[in-house]
Symmetry: C2
Subunit: 270 residues, 2 copies
């Protein structure tokens, strides 16, 4: 996946179309079109932010893991196929507004244009290393903007807490305390409201199982984001391998009618 | 979804990074970076090539439709969630090599970089209107290239047969004859081999239920594509709303370990 890749002429032309009005107009350069015939795009330009979904991947306490069973085999008809049983909020998955809000948009109603967005990553991993209840605060957003510039309009903003490092240790990802309460980092509700109202984000993401801290039972972040008609993505992977700002993200959300969410493929174009 | 959209600065910067080495180097223009601060991207730039997945959407004869059942409700705990039961090859979905080939790559093993590709659409809808067994031939590919130029390396090549117009008429999409054999257009196996070997495609797509003509029981197209380690996408939507060449496509394939395929979100960046 990391070998240099051959040029994709039409691909470049299409991506150029997205940027041309901006970059080229800003520079006073005439659109080049077929001039893009000899350039290279490296495979590193696509980063997979999705976990491989296995029955062993942690789920929210009480939810079942994915169950897959063969229903067709190569030796009987030439094709293999499985039947899948899964709850919608399994693996790297999207929360549609309907997940939290009666009457909210189901996953098939999220506009496709909102699924392609600027990617912003807020890294609180140093704090999360020592505090399983760490939160992304408005101060974190301000510090990010001081360093990287203002979060763009209609961005997808994700927390990187480093939580996936815990996947190697059984129980450490869900991280139940002796009383059975899970502990993992998340956004502060005030931060979520700020990002929705002041930065007009399309969605919010985390590398944990919940937009809210796992121990939080108010679910203020879910309410702020989904209640405003935006979406969430939980259990993202590899957010430490993309730049904090400047990449784009494509959220390959499922389209089952009336769905409250579902596993989604998340690819960063870096 | 079609209203003009506000600029996405970081997004433009990221997409520009993909094209910069190509377009800008070709033109001798220095990379502009932060010059892209005032341009607009229209929402029309994202085209959804995915059908909304409903229990009524046709499936391959003998396969069951999607089944969704509530497992959590807003009034009991604050969140709604469903359990889903579905066969992998349901709705707009991807065929991994393993679907056809014992030992072939499962869906989680398809390189992420192969899921972002130049999109090429071969339109045989005029012929398919009068011939339910119409095939995409090598002559069709040659005619396309005479008009639009050579299919780029590592493209995703899709057939548009116009078959989705039949979704409005019960039974017309699967189109069983009196003997119970389905009839719908597909690729010719020779064409698939040509595209794999001579054009090095990453994947092949159709707007019908099968890469092969539905009545074909040799499955030569599946063998040519999946046997070569490439992927297929079946039941694509709205291929008549994207240009025949020049767009990019992102295939949001599922990542369940060992999967033979699964529903996927397909978005064109036009």
């Amino acid at each position: 996946m990391c070998a240099p890749r051959i040029v994709r002429v039409a691909h470049e032309q299409a991506l150029a179309r997205l940027t041309r009005r901006g970059l080229f107009a800003a520079a006073g350069v005439v659109a080049l079109g077929s001039a893009a015939t000899s350039a290279a795009v490296s495979a590193e330009s696509v980063v997979d932010l999705t976990h491989t979904l296995t029955p062993e991947l942690p789920v929210w306490p009480g939810n079942p893991p994915l169950l897959a069973a063969p229903v067709a085999r190569h030796e009987l008809g030439g094709f293999a196929q499985q039947s899948l049983i899964l709850w919608e909020h399994t693996g790297t998955h999207i929360d549609a507004p309907l997940h939290r809000v009666p009457g909210g948009a189901s996953v098939d109603r999220i506009p496709a244009a909102d699924l392609v967005a600027p990617l912003v990553v807020l890294d609180i991993s140093a704090r999360a290393d020592t505090d399983a209840d760490a939160m992304v605060t408005v101060a974190d957003v301000e510090a990010f903007e001081d360093r990287h510039g203002r979060i763009p309009e209609r961005a997808f903003v994700a927390m990187f807490s480093g939580w996936e490092r815990r996947l190697a240790t059984p129980g450490a990802f869900v991280n139940l305390d002796p009383g059975g309460t899970p502990h993992a980092p998340g956004f502060h509700a005030t931060t979520a409201n700020h990002l929705v109202r002041e930065r007009n984000i399309v969605g919010l993401g985390v590398d944990t199982l919940s937009l809210d801290r796992a121990a939080d039972r108010e679910y203020g972040v879910h309410t702020a984001v989904l209640g405003a008609g935006r979406y969430g993505v939980e259990m993202l992977a590899r957010l430490d391998t993309v730049p904090p700002i400047g990449a784009s993200v494509v959220i390959g959300a499922p389209t089952h009618a009336g769905g409250t969410g579902g596993p989604c493929r998340v690819l960063a174009l870096v």
